[in-house]
Symmetry: C2
Subunit: 172 residues, 2 copies
Amino acid sequence: MQDKARLQAMVGEDLLFLTDDQLRRGIEAMFFAYRAFTADPDAILADLDYGRAHHRALHFINRDPGLTVTSLLAVLGVTKQSLNRVLRTLIEDGLVDSRIGRRDRRERQLHLTATGTALERRLSEAQRARMRAAYRRAGPQAVAGFRQVLEAMMDPETRAQYQALKDLPDDR
Amino acid sequence: MQDKARLQAMVGEDLLFLTDDQLRRGIEAMFFAYRAFTADPDAILADLDYGRAHHRALHFINRDPGLTVTSLLAVLGVTKQSLNRVLRTLIEDGLVDSRIGRRDRRERQLHLTATGTALERRLSEAQRARMRAAYRRAGPQAVAGFRQVLEAMMDPETRAQYQALKDLPDDR
DNA sequence: CCCGATACGGCAGCCTTGTTGACTTTCTAA
DNA sequence: TTAGAAAGTCAACAAGGCTGCCGTATCGGG
């Protein structure tokens, strides 16, 4: 009887995290956390007449200088027309430099200017600060789990992209 | 010497997860995972001329039937004009029922209709399916870490709200 | 009983950021 | 050399945020 109860409890523990209620908790946690995750950069961007889309562009140009518009498109997962509007303002404002491709003159290779780098750093430092605080509070083991679940949640395509982004050759 | 190396390794391990590079990985994981997280419901909604905002409203009305417009506003963190547009279409289309409050007749208590419940279930089942798959692949321990980090990332206010949402009295 | 506060709704208009469609420039393969 | 594919740009539209302002119903304290 007592053993049966304990068995029940153990099975329960294993399955607990898959109940609809646990899943709902996870869904809500994603919603609330993502809102916080974007809040700090958003506040900075609002003063500059930029939006979240500008931040994303700056981020990925910074992490892979010289990438083409099409590559950036693939990473961001939006249409090129949508990206173009954002990119145009960044170029006009002198944050991004768009050079005609050396191999293929149809391509545009994107780089951040000094000003662009400065803004990117400001934005990502705000975001990193929050992430750092969360990591520190949760501890290394929790962080590992956090990344595992997020990774498992991605579409296979995206996951491949994400993993390929691990270490980029800076030689382009 | 060996101990020193081990110590170094342990300190390194403790700090490794706080390097800028690790934080960047976390940031990108959030971005990619959140996109996947919303993709399945978005696809269903697109066919019905609804958007993500409608899904969010349905979700929180479903999880706490009878809540007022103001409470919903507080949870969603948007302006009432913004919510109102969404809510109006849901009421017009017969997915949500807005009843005058019993205690306070100024309030509107929101409930899902049968149709609304059906759509909510369809949307959330799609989202839960992905979450369930991710949880299963990552395992219970990872899930615990996942939730810990997300929780630590929230604003204190939001976190309190999130934790209060744990078990709601259904007696309203 | 009245008067300020609260809850909700509506209208107008703005911005960002997604969409599709049509166009130019450039490259490549037949 | 020419047709078609690929890269990028311009135009127009929609969703869903936002602010500001006003109207109505209701509540509660003085």
